[in-house]
């Protein structure tokens, strides 16, 4: 009898509404978070443009090049020369050829033929203040290596 008394004293709260809400939240955050943009580097302050629309057809392979400035926490440039943010290191723009060639080897190795480079889109995410000539030189270097498709990124204006 004593045991029975203690059983009845346990209050079981109704969990159903809480679980409902928690699942709602979970679904929301799952949908909102996108893992696609992992190649984008936050340090690059892209130019803004109203006409920048996400591409309708996704390229099969893409090589994202993040070109920006090393900035301090206030957003001011520490170094006036832009660098390429590549795999955790900052490479000056005139010394990136080996990295681009290595990327090419990886693409060729994955596909098994040199033709794959025709399908690789080089996506250039350059900071709004990068000198245009440097971006053009970078494109030139990519072309010398064998890349053919290029696109420039901008954020959508509100």
């Amino acid at each position: 009898m004593a045991k029975r008394k203690s059983d009845s004293s346990v209050i079981e709260p109704d969990m159903t509404p809480m679980i409902d809400i928690v699942f709602q939240l979970l679904t929301f955050f799952m949908i909102v978070s996108n893992f696609e943009n992992t190649k984008a580097d936050e340090r690059v302050k892209l130019p803004q443009d109203a006409l920048a629309k996400p591409p309708e057809v996704k390229p099969k392979d893409e090589l994202v090049l993040n070109i920006g400035f090393i900035r301090n926490s206030a957003g001011a440039k520490v170094d006036p020369n832009p660098v390429l943010f590549y795999a955790g290191s900052d490479i000056p723009l005139d010394k990136i050829r080996p990295e681009l060639e290595q990327e090419k080897r990886l693409f060729v190795l994955k596909a098994g033929s040199e033709k794959v480079l025709e399908d690789v889109a080089v996506i250039i995410r350059a900071d709004a203040d990068v000198p245009t000539g440097m971006v053009q030189d970078l494109i030139k270097t990519c072309q010398d290596i064998g890349y053919t498709k290029f696109s420039l990124k901008a954020t959508q204006e509100e």
């Binding site: 809480m18 996400p54 203040d129 990068v130 000539g133 030139k140 990124k153």
Partner: protein, 169 residues
Amino acid sequence: MKLTKRDSGPSKVEIPMAPMIDIVFQLLIFFMLNLKIVAPEGNFNINMPIGAPSQSSPEEPNLPDIKVGLKSDANGNLTQLTLGQKNLGNDDAAFDRLNAEILKIIVRPGNPLTKDVEVEIAADYELHYKYVIRAVSKCTGRIDPQTKQMVRYIEKIKFAPPGKPRGEA
């Protein structure tokens, strides 16, 4: 006692909720921490090769290539925007003028006669990249103020051969 227990037993199976809630909360926290609000990004495709003369096929109608020039000072600020020989200025309105001039050239958006027209952008070495993007955008089209839809003007954009930095020129 035995009897009552057996009666109540099979009628109600209690699923342990605690482990599930634990995991669900873990997932919830994971996705919450992963949330990063980023502005959506868009692309402008550019036609390559840089600088090499475009291979114009003989049957192509004789359309003038549109040349957009952007001049800058040593700090990379825009000093002059030109379309062909025409000077459009260097302020915000210059880009709108460029947009209007492009529309004049193609006559109407989606014109099949002018869909192969190319725009060549020649920019100074030091010019800030954002001006190039603006020029590219103004050549590509505009947002219709009524429908908020994009009206395409010219899709083929290419770059003139890169210039030399000021110090070397």
